[in-house]
């Protein structure tokens, strides 16, 4: 016989007596052990007490799953005391994910049909809280029977349970729809409240139900009118307003029924006007009703005068002393700003004042609303306000404010210069909070507006000279100085005071950026490239720049080191190309694909340092012959455009250059052609990250006594493939095993169809032109599977 177990209160006393977390854990674990033992013994008398204790420790965060089966036993007991705790336990411990939850379905069914009212109440409560779709299916008819029972207590619970059932199993809506009409005649407010909720749920889910319930609009209007005009009724009033909860629910339902429906909204117009003008808003309850009224007026096709009244009510609330009311006013205006923009605009000054709120929730709402109110006519004024806000606002709002200003500027900028100024201001004020694409956007903006170049570079230079800590600003400034350094040094610009800048100052500034510990690696990259570009823009000699570049050749940062080495190579080996490579960017179109200009240039340098560039001639006409030989000649085997030094032309090809050598995959290579000592080998690689991609390296070797010259290889593949040919390393293979030509083919095979490849070779050998066309056989299966 187990010692008499603790009462719940005693356990709680003990737990509160514990001085430390560890002590509390000990007490609870000891008690849980007792509880477990008691459950095992199956003591029916004290089971409810044990479960109550278990639920208490569960609330504190301790495991209680071993009580789940006990809930079932308690629910099945005939005693109300047991059922009460059992159902509570089911709601707190059981849920759809455990199979056990289905076991209470039967008990619920019994309790619903035969239990006394409190028991029926418990069962309904449980079903509406944790009832799964299966349970709802099984019990829907039982619940429906209870809808029209005499007792309002049970009915109101049954109605809300019906709402839950419909949410879980929408198809069951039809069972509950018929009773609604009758339920609406109820006088009991609890039943009415539930009924309105049920009808709302039905209307939201089904257009047919919506049409059906439009009939009851007059009835609802009447009910609301009664509530509003009844005046003080002790039963249901909250601060002098008659059952504001019911009023709000009715208003919400009226909104749904009246939306896009002239007739219904006309029926409500008078009443809405009455509520809007007569509700006492000195207390919260009245304000709640009034807000709901305003939202309803705005959402249905109501008279213009009424709408103006509604928005003015909101405007008044913006000035209310109660913060909660101001909050809800801001939220409501935010909801309406899209549909009734002009009306809300009238309250713009008040909204902007709300930016000064000390309450973070309020100022956030005010910010959202202010940003939504920006349009082309007020953009200058609003941006000034928002910029002032940006300087003083709390940190968590900065990012949103900054990106909001930038977005508004992009949409409504009256002039490009204003736009640039705005972005510059945001970058200097809140540089660390802007999104990553702000830098790209600004550089694109500047690059695309030729008239801004001189102005931008001057302003950015001044800003940078003051502060090199805000990374986005530094990046844009560095880029700008690099691109337009010559304009900076010219000294004349109509829009700002003349600024005399010496070359040495500019270089010194960029070096400072490079060396500063505040600069991110990306920023350093910008600065280094800018220095490099200046080598062609400045008139002095480039010793200083060359020094810096060579120092960074041994920088620990791999990216910087690579750039520095490449730039060094530009100075030393390819000086004749340097000017062309570092030419100014062509004007970029807005809205084009974001291209990383830095990557372009470093890739240009990379390409040059890897191999001697050789132009390949496009031979599009001869291609057709080749393609005719395969199924579906419509896809193109691209030929790389001639490699001229201008960055624009080389762009297409360079971006396709595989930056890193693909990891080796063990596909056997294939010798596909041999003639008089000239051999063609194919080796295959399938990069692991891209299953549809196949890289083929063609290698041409020459073991004969005569040179191979003017070598060109063309290829064709079936229609479903995409083929790209990279530029070959050359067109000559010297005799006797001279340096081979290699060429890379990229083949995309998204459908994983078997690969077929046809090659056409033309070259000169032993003074004779040679042409060979053949299909490659025996392609390994791994190339396309």
């Amino acid at each position: 016989m187990v010692a008499p177990s603790l009462k719940l209160q005693d356990l709680i006393e003990e737990i509160r007596g514990a001085k430390t977390q560890a002590q509390e854990r000990e007490v609870i674990q000891k008690e849980c052990a007792h509880i477990r033992a008691s459950f095992r013994e199956g003591d029916p008398l004290h089971r409810h007490r044990q479960l109550a204790k278990l639920l208490y420790v569960h609330m504190l965060g301790y495991p209680a799953h071993f009580g789940q089966m006990e809930c079932l036993k308690l629910i099945a007991s005939p005693r109300f005391t047991d059922k009460r705790v059992g159902y509570l336990g089911a709601m707190l411990l059981l849920d759809e994910r455990q199979d056990a939850h289905l076991l209470i379905t039967n008990s619920i069914k019994n309790d619903l049909s035969q239990g006394i009212q409190p028991v029926q109440g418990l069962a309904l409560c449980t079903l509406s809280t944790m009832g799964s779709a299966e349970m709802c299916q099984d019990l829907a008819t039982e619940v429906e029977k209870l809808l029209l029972q005499p007792s309002p207590y049970v009915r109101k619970k049954a109605i809300l349970t019906a709402v839950h059932i419909i949410r879980k199993v929408p198809e069951l809506s039809n069972i509950f729809l018929p009773s609604c009409a009758q339920l609406l005649h109820e006088r009991h407010h609890g039943v009415l409240l539930g009924t309105i909720t049920l009808i709302t749920e039905l209307c939201e889910r089904s257009p047919a139900a919506l049409r059906h319930f439009r009939k009851v609009v007059p009835q609802l209007v009447q009910k609301l009118r009664t509530l509003v005009t009844t005046g003080y009724s002790t039963e249901h009033s909250i601060s002098g307003v008659s059952d504001p909860f019911l009023q709000v629910q009715i208003l919400r339902l009226l909104r749904i029924l009246g939306r896009n429906h002239e007739e219904s909204s006309e029926a409500m117009n008078d009443l809405l006007a009455q509520v809007a003008t007569n509700t006492d808003t000195s207390r919260n309850a009245g304000s709640a009703v009034l807000f709901e009224t305003v939202l309803t007026i705005m959402d249905i096709p109501s008279a213009a005068g009424l709408r103006v009244l509604a928005i003015n009510i909101l405007g008044r609330f913006l000035l209310h002393s109660d913060k909660n009311i101001r909050y809800v006013a801001l939220m409501s205006l935010l909801r309406l700003v899209q549909s009734d923009h002009n009306a809300v605009q009238r309250h713009r000054p008040t909204v902007v004042d709300c930016l000064q709120e000390t309450d973070a929730s309020l100022s956030r709402r005010a910010l959202e609303l202010s940003l939504a109110l920006v349009n082309s006519s007020n953009v200058r004024a609003m941006t000034r306000e928002l910029q002032a806000f940006l300087e003083s606002c709390p940190p968590d709002l900065r990012a949103d404010c900054a990106s909001g200003i930038l977005l508004a500027a992009e949409r409504f900028a009256p002039t490009k210069r204003w736009h640039m100024d705005t972005i510059l201001h945001v970058l200097t004020t809140a540089g660390t909070y802007v999104r990553d694409d702000a830098v790209a956007n600004l550089t694109q903006l500047i690059a695309g507006a030729q008239e801004l170049h001189a102005y931008s570079v001057r302003r950015l230079y001044s800003a940078l000279a003051e502060d090199i800590s805000q990374q986005p600003l530094v990046q844009v400034a560095a880029w700008c100085i690099g691109e337009y350094g010559d304009l900076l040094l010219e000294g004349n610009c109509e829009d700002i005071e003349p600024l005399q800048v010496e070359e040495e100052e500019v270089l010194a500034l960029l070096e400072r950026v490079l060396q500063s510990h505040m600069s991110l690696p990306a920023t350093r990259g910008y600065a280094l490239t800018a220095l490099m570009k200046l080598s062609t823009r400045l008139r002095g000699d480039n010793n200083r720049i060359r020094q810096v570049v060579s120092i960074y050749g041994s920088c620990l940062d791999v990216e910087l080191q690579q750039r520095a080495v490449e730039y060094n190579a530009l100075f030393r080996k390819y000086d004749h190309m340097r000017a062309a490579i570092l030419e100014k960017m062509p004007l970029v179109e807005r809205g084009g694909p974001q291209v990383d200009e830095e990557a372009k240039e470093s890739k240009a340098a990379a390409k040059l340092s890897e191999a001697a560039p050789v132009p390949a001639e496009p031979q599009a006409s001869k291609l057709l012959d080749l393609l005719d030989l395969l199924d579906g000649p419509s896809e193109d085997a691209q030929h790389p455009p001639p490699l001229d030094p201008s960055p624009g032309g080389a762009l297409v090809q360079l971006l396709d250059l595989p930056y890193a050598p693909p990891p080796p995959a063990p596909i056997p290579s294939l010798k596909v052609f041999e003639r008089e000592g000239v051999q063609l080998n194919l080796s295959f690689i399938r990069p692991p990250g891209t299953p549809a991609l196949l890289l083929i390296t063609v290698t041409v070797t020459n073991s004969s006594g005569g040179d191979v010259t003017h070598f060109i290889c063309q290829a064709a593949v079936p229609k479903s493939f995409q083929l790209q040919l990279q530029a070959p390393t050359g067109d000559t293979v010297p005799a006797q095993g001279g340096l081979p030509i290699t060429q890379l083919f990229r083949i995309l095979n998204p459908n994983k169809t078997p690969l077929r490849l046809k090659l056409r070779l033309t070259y000169n050998h032993f003074g004779q032109p040679v042409q060979e066309i053949f299909e490659v056989n025996n392609l390994p299966v791994e190339t396309w599977q």
């Binding site: 009460r84 409190p118 609890g190 409240l193 539930g194 909250i238 807000f291 909660n324 809800v328 309450d359």
Partner: protein, 156 residues
Amino acid sequence: MIQAILVFNNHGKPRLVRFYQHFPEEIQQQIVRETFHLVLKRDDNICNFLEGGSLIGGSDYKLIYRHYATLYFVFCVDSSESELGILDLIQVFVETLDKCFENVCELDLIFHMDKVHYILQEVVMGGMVLETNMNEIVAQIEAQNRLEKSEVRQVL
């Protein structure tokens, strides 16, 4: 819809935890802690509405709370509920507790957690507002208590 109702004291100790949507236990505890931290930061003279934490459903959900002496009553609701209405609802709930416990204080909630649940069940059910008439609620609770007492007498 009301997603959760949480009552905790000024130190974050939970006094009532009721979820109307399923969350696993660890998440429930996390939500209680996160909500407490969010609410604790608020001064007493700012508005009673908070955007919900990340755990409890994101941007559609708000925390509406009231601070009574040593207890925070927090309702987590979605956008379909009237914010000011919920404020009144919290008041109704607290006043009902006051009637049922006769000048309710934190200790009452601590030692009668189960009773608080039963009272709450008469106000909010399945995440929806069930009854706001305090007299009805109190009458119902008293009837149920009498029922329990009579059963206890039977056993003895």
